[in-house]
Symmetry: C2
Subunit: 291 residues, 2 copies
């Protein structure tokens, strides 16, 4: 481990010892929780961690509590060897990669639930999902006790749910978002992009095209939210998307659906290409009106 600089730990005690040692030495620590299958989006969060803290600790845990029985827990991409190589290349200091039995011993019985920001969008489409997220992330934050925890804005609603839970439970950690990283054609990086076949991969770029056009037209008030959303949905259908869970304009802080952009808003989408569910989102901030 000494030669790479990446220490790998699998117990809470070992994780806490290392993070605690750094913090007692006056070093700040950023935690970057992931489910593995690391791509450039995750790695950008590791770099962001290095920018704002002295040490970066990644976690890899495919959390069974955030998958419904019908979802892809079993087939979710896993490959610790490749992930470790990427973390080493990024100079990440510590990896916490626990077994399920470490996170959820047999008598585990506690759930962290958030209402409000978790109610609509993916919360409506995936019942129980955000309970699973809020529970596992609360645990990871309290296991590691870092200064900062970083989550990608690609999962924008998740970021808000985690921030709400941490704030409400007084978890002593700053929750920070990191910008979405995109492919050359604009597709947001996601571990689930690996599920797409070649044709679907081409079709997938329609998401950012549809979102970007709608966001620009809403921001400049060239179109109404209702009209622009309808046009974006049409674009996705035309591009071959097989189902759209939602495509909504929401307040950027509360995620309450809005039909104007008097406050910062976010346009969010979840849509299916065959068996693959993709999500994305984009900021919508009204431009100053000129007369």
């Amino acid at each position: 481990m000494e030669t790479t600089g990446l220490e790998i730990v699998r117990t809470v005690a070992a994780l806490r010892d290392q993070v605690g040692e750094w913090r007692r030495d006056g070093q700040t620590v950023a935690l970057v929780p992931t489910m593995g299958a690391l791509h450039e989006g995750h790695l950008s969060l590791m770099r962001q961690g290095h920018e704002i803290c002295d040490r970066v600790c990644a976690t890899i845990f495919v959390n069974p509590k955030q998958f419904a029985p019908s979802e892809d827990f079993e087939t979710y991409p896993r490959g610790e060897g490749e992930d470790v190589a990427k973390l080493i290349a990024e100079g990440v200091d510590l990896l916490f990669a626990p077994d399920v039995s470490v996170m959820y011993p047999d008598n585990f019985a506690t759930t962290v639930s958030v209402t409000g920001v978790s109610d609509g969008l993916c919360g409506a489409a995936r019942p129980g999902f955000f309970d699973g997220v809020a529970t596992v992330v609360s645990k990871l934050l309290l296991q590691a006790l870092p200064d900062v925890a970083i989550f990608g804005e690609k999962d924008y609603q998740q970021l808000l749910v985690i921030r709400q839970a941490a704030q409400d439970l007084n978890i002593p950690v700053d929750v920070v978002g990191g910008p979405t990283v995109r492919e050359a054609d604009g597709l947001a990086l996601s571990s689930r992009n690996a599920y797409l076949n070649e044709a679907e991969r081409q079709q997938a770029a329609a998401i950012i095209d549809a979102l970007g056009t709608a966001a620009a037209n809403i921001a400049t008030r060239r179109g109404t939210a209702k009209g622009e959303i309808a046009a974006a949905v049409q674009k996705l259908n035309d591009a071959g998307f097989t189902n759209i869970d939602y495509l909504e304009l929401c307040d950027a802080e509360t995620l309450v659906p809005v039909d104007d952009v008097t406050r910062p808003a976010r346009l969010l989408v979840a849509a299916w290409l065959g068996e693959t569910r993709l999500i994305d989102n984009i900021a919508v901030v009204a431009t100053t009106q000129t007369k």
Copy 2:
């Protein structure tokens, strides 16, 4: 404040500053959460805190989330002046007494729920009660970040729920129970005893009489759990109790109902005298059988 030694704080920042300063100095800190209306039971927990830690921090917060609309939140006894005098007399170092708006700001949206130990007994009789307890105590533990938190065994199920939540969420605190303190006639001290009129106060002692007899007979196998529980219920009815929410023998760790004492068990009761609900419990450990 200097002359008394008791510092009173009302914000999370001030609480964390003081506890953090002690802990950075190498002093250990015990937290004793209460809803005020302090009696000898609470004060015994303060003394227990002094025995196991260098510093003791009490909290007083009448938690609205653990009262149902039909319950006694409005009338629950409050008197910070008297409570402060008692804490000073016990040499308590710090009191955290936040307003509701500090604990639950307007956009508060998170709940900690525990299944299993919280399902029966008071969990069945008071829906939502243990969610309120688990949520507020998780917050208090994470606000103060003490070494140890102490809760009375009079609220035995509550102690187990809190221990489960702290363990499951990896809250870095030892949860410790303190023995029930009783009046001369055996009535468990409770802030709600103040609701009893003189006649009810006399009748209330039947609880420990009924529990004690049943526990002794079950432990020595002079009687079956079923028969002893029926006899104890009869005693409470005869003594004038107007309703019995439960009187059950349960596994002392899981609170699963049991009908024998092959493992440590607990006999628990909740019963009403007019408008007042009283709870109590007692250990039932099988005595070694002699032939």
